[in-house]
Amino acid sequence: MAGLTTIEVSKIASPPNLRRRLTGWWSWNWLGILPFVLFIIAFQLFPALSIVIKTFQDLSGHFTLDNVNSLNTPLILGTYWSSIKLALFSAVGGALIGFFLAWAITLGHLPGWVRSAILSFSGVASNFGGVPLAFAFIATIGQVGILTVALKSVGIFLYPDFKLYSFTGLVIVYIYFQIPLMVLIMAPAFEGLRKEWQEASENLGASRYQYWRYVALPILLPSIAGTCALLFGNAFGAQATAYALVGGGGQYTVITLLVGSQFSSDTFNNPGIGNALAFGMIVVMVITIFIYSFFRRMSGRWLKVGGE
């Protein structure tokens, strides 16, 4: 490498304490990641920031809270709430089912091929969303879906009480990509449960129930909670599936569709409101990510224990 940089020189020259404080803050090496950082700024941070800033600006550029205040209508608040409810239900539903499936393929003593098959499928299915997924469910439980027809033939009429283009319908569809995500994250977590913990608890006299209640579930809880947060964010931000199912109008809508509709027509005749809507979404997502990283850090700390 070429000769000493300015930092290295100052390292030699200055007294130990000062040296330690100067060291490591800046080195020309940081420039190496500049292209990457610029890209991120251009295509993520700048747009996000501009939304945040423009939310608090009126048409002439002055600071205002009007945009945020105009969110305070029953329609808009109701839509936020629908989205949150949808995300919550599909996250919890997906998490529960995914939890048991992940348990089944890791600790359920199933043949090896079942585990690989489920994990591979989950890898695909977690990306299977949007329009094809909507179509798949329309073909299944839509008005003339094959399941609808089959049930009709044995006397069970899904319609008109059940509608695919509704809250319940969306939850059922969203769970399709929530479960695989849960499995992909929880399967390694289950495998991280060391066999010795189970043996140690057994050795100390605990029953299986006591082991799960006092040791295994508490250990898994951060992963479960963190993944729930991830699933929530995943569903909250989803647009394609909702668009394909309920995007044509009608009473039920979610916040992503509302933001999307700001493109074609300023539905509210108020350009600033689009920003505020998007800003609201960012706020929800930021909170979600904080919850997620909090739990991820916690589980990371605990699972570093042991003598191997």
């Binding site: 043996e199 050795n203 006092y214 605990w302 570093k304 191997e308």
Partner: protein, 355 residues
Amino acid sequence: MAFLELTNIRKEFSAFTAVEDFNLKVDKGEFVSFLGPSGCGKTTTLRMIAGFEKPTNGQITIDSSDITSVPANKRNIGMVFQSYALFPNLSVANNIGFGLKVRGESAAVIKQRVSEMLDLIRMQEFANRFPHQLSGGQQQRVALARAIAIRPQVLLMDEPLSALDAKIRIALRQEIRAIQRQLGITTIYVTHDQEEALSISDRIVVMSRGRMEQIGTPLDIYNTPETRFVASFVGTLNLLDAKVVDARGGRIKIDDQEIEIGQQLLGAQVGKGVSVAIRPEAISINGKSGGLGNHLNGAVDDVSFLGSVVRVRVRLETQHINFDTFNNPNLKPPAIGQAVSLNFMPEACMVVRDE
């Protein structure tokens, strides 16, 4: 009646037999080690006592009651694992108290017992710490306390120190032995480290390939190994090929040099090959000629400085002998190539059975 008895224990897996013909009687309060290389079956046997594996044949009794079919969580046996296996979500105090908690003991009883245990392992200030905040040695002491807290009939330890640094290992094994003596708990200790087994056990069971090679006190195992395996596994050993010269008189020939061994070679004809083991510390260089005992002549091949001991390798015609001499700063070790005469008593030779 012994306190812990294993009778005719055999464990078969689908592909191979892990343990067979295992018979052991352990007295109350005794400290017995299972010693052997990886795969010899020592851990499997331990796990059968704990209840994590079921013997294919055989019986295990503790205090005269047969526990062979008793489930693992009802045996009241404490176990310390190689990887400590502390519950990461529980504090040190809650880890130690876990066994009492699942038995439904009251909070007051648990608190009292935990405090006793913390005193025993001298970690009172660590009660509220979590495993990930402890060093390896500290975690192992907590694991020990956790196993003892339930007042087990038998304490099992599966290579508890192998994951630790050498210095900590030595200190901790003394501590484990002291605690065990103080409490008088019958203990089975599995290890592959022969120095560890020799230094802290009342008796050692040396195992190889699923079978018991020898049971005895550390002194017996070291000084009178019964099989070639035990002789070569425990301590350093010179193993030499020799031919019988005189069976009744106990004379054999190593590389054309004849020596006397302290025993008769029953049933061996002249010319038959035997293996002879001699400990390096039993050999010395003869300064004066005509000393008592056997002499073997050779040339120095290599000198290794091992700290307190200097190990010299001497070449005979086709074989090597290592001998040890204490490090003496005033005495120079022999030079490489120097011709030497090795001296040792006939009793120091052990004829070993081949496998």
